[in-house]
Symmetry: C2
Subunit: 341 residues, 2 copies
């Protein structure tokens, strides 16, 4: 007699209870039109008494909007995506939208899921290497406002990225100042747009400085173990590289472990750098690049809101600044350059 009454209270029951039409109840509840104060009072009383909660589905169907938006990302391991998603959620929630998440987990074909997501939201953010461009285009074409984050622009969609170029160049310059000659790059430029950019900038910076970049990157996935294995391969080369420039911090941390295993000291025997400035980087003394992750997510949420509100303004493209964080893994310095990481 209590467990089974899953029957939701509807607006009809409220109306009946008060002795008015459902239209009046609706008005009283949303304050969209004038309702006699006395009537409103009675409606609210009945709502309270019956514990009426309007059905979101009925509401959305009638309003023609979900009041929700989604975000698609590859994964959530590692602080990078978590922080971005968090920044996104915070702003989206503030703007009154619920947030749907979709992790592609590196699955072969997430387009079905992405399209499915598109049917449940008023707008969505698509991050990095998750789905093919044509799927993104399709989503946009359906009429779902879309903002791209940390991936190359597609059509006329708003796109926000972090600056891989400048920092990669600064990093190389810094390493050159240390006097290094032989560089290796650990990471797969095909694995994500960010790495593609970082690797390209890395090569260009070396070339511009009159150095010869490595023939090819030592390809590996984004995790510690992959970095460990890749570093082992790289360090087996002869002559041994003096610096391992890694696609991200996880890879770099794995590389540090590999170096230690081989009895190599960092940075005396081999220098190592990462990317992302995860918390562990600080404790490992890892030289890396800090990205404004929270800000990336927050900005995406705001832009999306504008588009959902119908803004037809020109396409927005923005590259948020990043910051080189010099610690000890890249070589000896006079003093610790970092104040409080």
């Amino acid at each position: 007699m209590a467990v089974q009454d899953r029957q939701q209270v509807t607006i009809y029951e409220v109306a009946q209870r008060v002795g008015v039409s459902i239209a009046t109840v609706s008005r009283a509840l949303r304050g969209t039109d004038y309702v006699a104060p006395e009537t409103r009072r009675r409606v609210l009383a009945a709502v309270e008494e019956l514990q009426f909660r309007p059905s979101r589905l009925g509401q959305s169907l009638a309003e023609g909007r979900h009041a929700a938006n989604g975000i698609v990302f590859p994964d959530l391991s590692g602080p990078y995506y978590s922080e971005v998603v968090l920044g996104y959620e915070e702003v989206a929630a503030e703007l009154g939208n619920s947030v749907l998440i979709l992790a592609t987990h590196g699955r072969p074909d997430p387009s079905r899921k992405v399209l499915e997501l598109a049917r449940r939201v008023d707008g969505m953010v698509v991050m990095g290497r998750t789905v093919a461009d044509d799927v993104v285009a399709q989503v946009a074409e359906i009429g779902v406002p879309t903002v791209l984050l940390a991936r190359a622009a597609v059509g006329a969609l708003d796109t926000i990225t972090a600056d891989n170029d400048t920092s990669a160049r600064q990093l190389v310059e810094h390493l050159l100042e240390h006097g290094y000659q032989r560089f290796a790059y650990l990471g797969d430029p095909d694995s994500s747009p960010d790495v593609t950019d970082r690797y390209r900038a890395f090569r260009e910076a070396l070339t511009d400085a009159g150095r010869k970049p490595p023939r090819s990157p030592v390809r590996c996935a984004f995790d510690v173990d992959a970095g460990h294995r890749a570093a082992r391969r790289a360090l087996a080369g002869s002559p041994r590289p003096q610096v391992l420039v890694c696609a991200n911090d996880e890879v770099a941390l794995g590389a540090m472990a590999a170096a230690a295993e081989q009895g190599l000291t960092v940075p005396a025997d081999v220098a190592i750098t990462g990317w992302d400035d995860v918390m562990a980087a600080r404790y490992a003394g890892l030289t890396t690049v800090h990205q404004p992750m929270r800000e990336l997510g927050a900005t995406a949420a705001r832009w999306l809101q504008d588009r959902m509100a119908g803004s037809q303004a020109a396409v927005r493209r923005e590259v948020l600044p990043t910051r080189l964080v010099v610690r000890t893994s890249c070589g000896p310095h006079d003093a610790e350059k970092e104040v409080r990481g």
Copy 2:
């Protein structure tokens, strides 16, 4: 002529195009009833041609379900929640449910948002210290199946937690073996159910061993900076504590920094332990406790699915095992006990 036709194609247009009723289109699409092969073919052709995508809202309203579920957590910074959410998302998605997230960000009163979330899902998971018990009870009463994760049971709701007790005791025992006498606890037992348990078990273990537990914990928030400040306070005490048992790894890492600043060596001058086994812990040599985070989320998702499917089985309560990870920060050992953290 292309930008403005936000008009979604409806099932009516498909039906008209094919010259059948909407009922037939619906059947052809969901394969719920027999449809003449030829008819089905024509329907699918029209669907393709018109790029028809059924409205999720219409569908859900008619079906009486959202095909979505939610998860409420305090935050996403730090790997703990990220991993749990990821494990949850993965399973939920596999089971055909979209996932809505809600981060409470430690805001004063998230009950509005939680209730709002409850209107959009068929079931939800509520983690740790996010909302008051009565809100959870209310959500459950509304008829939204709810699973509790890492928080004390409420009513007859399924509850899954990680084992704080056993590990806390093991940890204390291990520290006692090191011969320490003076313990301090860094963290706020009121900040989360997990810390409440850990602190209690910590005290009990000391008491059981005939030692005197600290008069009170050194309260601090869950982040590195808070841990840093708390450690400074704790280390200023006289006599100085020999061990700082920290509520989680972030706090412990902050404490390590504080110790270093004061010229104290870990573990020679002061031992430090954490909780969670975040990536940085490995590189900091931090003795800590590993939790099955992914598994927590995944299990919650499965249980929720059962309840959403209408299971009236007895309340489920499960405590997943955790694992003490001994590294160097707790004191000298014959050999590194950890194989590959």
